[in-house]
């Protein structure tokens, strides 16, 4: 008889993966390290904040198991839970650097960002992704999506970054859940009541056939352990975020105005031939592109008028030894879901091409070229085909490229004159070592639109707005965002739509200062934990959790 893994709760799952008697839980429930952000919103917390951290052995190998409890708040990642994961992965990295082999295993049963701690969730997830990328140089980072919740949202972007993804057929994997797509793009885009359609599209059979997951195993503890152990032994790596040319070639052959079903897509995927794609710099033109804050500032900062690019939504150019990259709207784009500046399939892959090329070009240079991200992304693209093809891989490719660049020594600097929302921000912005933002009321910075967040968390918009008053991470504005402590600088005398010469000069200066500030500093994302605001309040719970994990790491 089979011994179900899926039926187990998060803690039992973690213990089930390690050899009998070898598991040791770190920062367990007895420490009652609850999220400080839930009770103010009248939500019941959990003593482990939904993350179970275990050190133990699997077939004699040292493993670190991170198990997300899908039953608590849908497995959403908040500040405390995120910090727990990051701290554990950082210690694992440290040990591996020291030559102590330790293999991280992440059990993903998660809706992604915990919407009740929205901006903390985004920060945490970007930090998880950063460490995963660093770790992959030493050991494979194995992901397991057993199912019930499955893997959604920002953690699906993470799943694409992991070395190898094992699933059961009880799981689904996607960036945006069908309900959110229905809310954002209408029921004709994705009917969230159509379970057949959902499972046919997001279920793991389709996912494994189209490169989104690597292996479907039976829902049986033994089978799952064997699969993980084998993946570690064989150092499996799907290199999922290194397939930009493959996907760009695929996208060349798909007509986004026509329907595409799962079967047709499987065939396209199987027959796709990878062609090399080039992404030349943006050039001046006589026709203005679709207006946006991002485009405005990109053009001002690079001096390119009416910037035009082969990929109309992605602009990049080198100016004064700095590489500027922006994702911009294009009202006539052939991908309907990115026409307002959303980060879609093509955008992520194109950005990853640009960034990886810079890394490659500067490979042997002592001083690495700074990369400046002009951030104005209203969200990721919400669409059926986006999910079918796997938009999270695209976003992951961009995020991974930025993280690699930073880890290689490139200063990666955000300049935020526009929106910074959700998966769009994770792909294009959150892997930077310094964030500069304008103190402008027009800026939205969040994990999900109010309408969707209300629908998913089953609250009214009024209740949601009430919550933002108590919890800064729930808010949608840059002023509350500053309270989280992640900003390098909030610029008060420049407004988003007014890029006059003085303003541009000031921003240029700040960017240079920010670049300067990274010199001789670690290439990780710790800056965010160490600003005065972060230490005082913004990341207090993060820092506490980090301390506890570090203390308990070697008992």
């Amino acid at each position: 008889m089979k011994n179900s893994f899926v039926e187990l709760k998060g803690r039992q799952r973690a213990f089930a993966l390690v050899d009998e008697g070898t598991g040791r839980e770190l920062v367990g429930p007895e420490y009652d390290m609850i999220s400080p952000h839930l009770e103010p919103q009248k939500i019941v917390p959990e003593s482990d904040d939904g993350i179970i951290l275990l050190k133990g052995k699997l077939d004699g190998k040292n493993v670190v198991v991170i198990s997300i409890e899908g039953k608590f708040q849908g497995g959403g990642i908040g500040e405390v839970s995120g910090a727990k994961i990051v701290a554990a992965l950082e210690k694992t990295l440290e040990d591996n650097k020291k030559g102590i082999k330790e293999y991280p295993i992440i059990i993903l049963d998660t809706g992604g960002v915990r919407l009740q701690e929205a901006n903390y969730g985004l920060l945490s997830i970007s930090e998880i992704q950063n460490v995963v990328i660093a770790l992959k140089k030493y050991v494979p980072v194995i992901g397991l999506v057993p199912g019930r919740v499955g893997s959604f949202g920002g953690m699906s972007i993470t799943s694409a970054i992991l070395s190898y993804l094992i699933t059961t057929k009880k799981a689904r994997i996607a960036l945006n859940g069908p309900e959110v797509i229905e809310q954002e793009a209408g029921v004709r885009e994705f009917d969230s009541s159509d379970k057949d359609l959902i499972w046919d599209t997001l279920g793991t059979r389709q996912r494994v056939a189209t490169g989104i997951a690597d292996e479907v195993v039976n829902d049986d503890i033994k089978a799952i352990k064997e699969a993980i152990s084998k993946a570690i032994d064989e150092k499996k790596d799907a290199h999922r975020t290194e397939k930009a040319d493959f996907y760009l070639s695929l996208l060349d052959h798909i007509d986004f105005d026509k329907p595409l079903n799962t079967e047709e897509y499987r065939k396209l995927y199987a027959e796709n031939k990878t062609e090399e794609h080039q992404v030349p710099e943006a050039v001046s033109s006589d026709k203005p592109g679709t207006k946006s804050r991002g485009r405005l500032w990109f053009e001002k900062l690079t001096g390119i008028e009416n910037a035009k690019s082969e990929y109309p939504t992605v602009l990049h150019a080198e100016k004064d030894g700095k590489e500027y990259i922006a994702i911009v709207p294009d009202e006539n784009n052939k991908f309907p879901r990115v026409r307002h500046g959303e980060v879609g399939l093509q955008e992520g892959f194109v950005v990853s091409k640009i960034v990886n090329q810079i890394i490659e070009e500067d490979k042997d240079k002592e001083v690495k070229r700074p990369i400046v991200l002009v951030v104005d992304v209203p969200s990721q693209a919400y669409g059926y085909k986006e999910e079918l093809i796997g938009i999270h891989i695209s976003l992951a490719s961009a995020a991974a490229a930025y993280a690699k660049a930073r880890q290689a020594g490139h200063p990666v600097i955000d300049f935020i004159p526009g929106d910074a929302v959700s998966g769009g921000f994770l792909a294009h912005g959150l892997q930077s070592n310094r964030i500069i933002a304008l103190a402008d009321k027009s800026i939205t910075i969040q994990a999900m639109s109010k309408a969707s967040a209300a629908r998913i968390t089953q609250r009214t918009i009024a209740e949601l707005e009430e919550a933002t008053k108590h919890v800064p991470a729930m808010a949608y504005d840059i002023f509350n965002y500053e309270k989280l402590g992640a900003l390098y600088k909030l610029v008060h005398d420049v407004s988003s739509w007014d890029a006059n010469d003085d303003a541009v000069n000031e921003i240029q200066k700040l960017i240079d200062e920010a670049i300067e500030s990274t010199k001789g500093k670690p290439t990780d994302l710790h800056f965010r934990y160490e600003t005065p605001i972060a230490v005082e309040s913004g990341r207090k719970a993060t820092n506490e959790m980090r301390k506890m994990v570090f203390e308990q790491w070697n008992k």
Binding site: G10, V44, S47
Partner: protein, 97 residues
């Protein structure tokens, strides 16, 4: 959400920390620490059930007079599920490590 606090005069000393349950819909977690006084601190997602909680705890402690500090995070469990988790915690006290 509502926070409730109860104290009891219980007799049976406990030796170790135990934890059962999960804060899932219709479920709860119970944290039980050794302590000299018996206190029960509850955070519950369902308002208006103070009387029911009191009844559940009275009945439980009538049968198992455990002395310790209880912390309960409840996500709308029925009295039956609450009693299940409490009695599971009681059982876990007797488990070998």
């Amino acid at each position: 959400m509502e926070k409730l606090h109860f104290t009891y005069q219980n007799t049976k000393t406990i030796e170790k920390f135990v934890h059962v349950g999960v804060v899932a819909s219709g479920d709860l977690e119970v944290l039980l620490y050794p302590a000299d006084e018996t206190t029960v601190d509850i955070v519950t997602g369902s308002d208006g059930f103070k009387e029911v909680w009191k009844n559940v705890l009275n009945r439980f402690f009538d049968r198992y007079s455990l002395k310790g500090k209880f912390i309960i995070h409840d996500f709308g469990a029925t009295p039956g599920v609450v009693n299940l988790r409490l009695t599971q915690a009681m059982e876990a006290l007797n488990d070998e490590e």
